[in-house]
Amino acid sequence: MTSMTLTPTTDELESLVGRQFPGGTYAVEPWRVWLTNDVIGAPQRTDGVAHPMFCYYAAMAGLGISIDEMFTLCYASADDGPMFGECDIQQLRPLEIGATYTVRGEITSAVRKQGTRTGTFDIVAFQLEVIAPDGEVSSIVSNSFIFPRRPQ
């Protein structure tokens, strides 16, 4: 059985804005690139350029907390059925296979919505920068998650 997490108050929800993630690093490892290309049906390249989805994977893996911890931070769990909202990926410079990137970022918005069919849900957005070994920002990833909430 699964059960939904208690719904946060609007104050608790809004207090998430500005929260910085611990950050960390992400290595674009060749085996991970191969498997990812296989999953999404992308060509296996030999020129050292990673698929642009690695902008997203690097950002998410390098933010310093797991997806589960992200859900917990947002007063939710995987059992609540969280979903993707919007996703914006800027690929300023393609990520290179074998390179290690630094990631930093923060929560940029947290709002409560009411849907006629879906009931109460929260949208939490965050922005992450993926920084190359030379210090240049290679990618900026802005994401949001939708968290279904139980009726209050």
Partner: protein, 136 residues
């Protein structure tokens, strides 16, 4: 690499078809991402949540298909400068998907703006957004 296109506003991008989304590849991606959300592999949880009776594809996979479509057209996925999408509906194991797009603007700097989409059975939209692709 493939040739770089010479687009005009209104051109439709060559469509990419995914014949059937593979449940086993969702498991691989869940492991790669460390994503413990059971909707990607546990049919019982999917049913309990009232989401149907097939595993739900990871959102990033759906975005990846659209990037593949763009990269195939533009001469390489590294030419994608920005892509912004909304996830409109779930994709389930076994679904047939089609990715496509339309050129909406062409800049003097060679940047091409496109509307992009991913649809189930070619008609039901599951992802939509915009992309900027550099063709220089």
């Amino acid at each position: 690499m493939s040739t770089v296109p010479d687009p005009s506003i209104g051109d439709e991008l060559p469509r990419l078809v995914i014949e059937a989304v593979d449940a086993e590849k969702m498991k691989t991606m869940a492991a790669l991402l460390g994503d413990s959300n059971p909707i990607h592999w546990d049919v019982a949880t999917v049913r309990e949540l009232g989401m149907g009776d097939q595993p739900v594809n990871q959102g990033p996979n759906n975005l990846g298909y659209v990037m593949n479509m763009l990269g195939g057209w533009a001469g390489g996925a590294e030419r994608i400068q920005e892509i912004r999408v909304r996830f409109l509906d779930n994709v389930f194991a076994g679904d047939c998907l089609e990715a496509g797009g339309t050129v909406t603007a062409i800049g003097d700097d060679g940047a091409v703006e496109c509307d992009v989409w991913l649809a189930r059975d070619g008609t039901h939209p599951v992802l939509a957004g915009t992309a900027t692709v550099s063709l220089v």
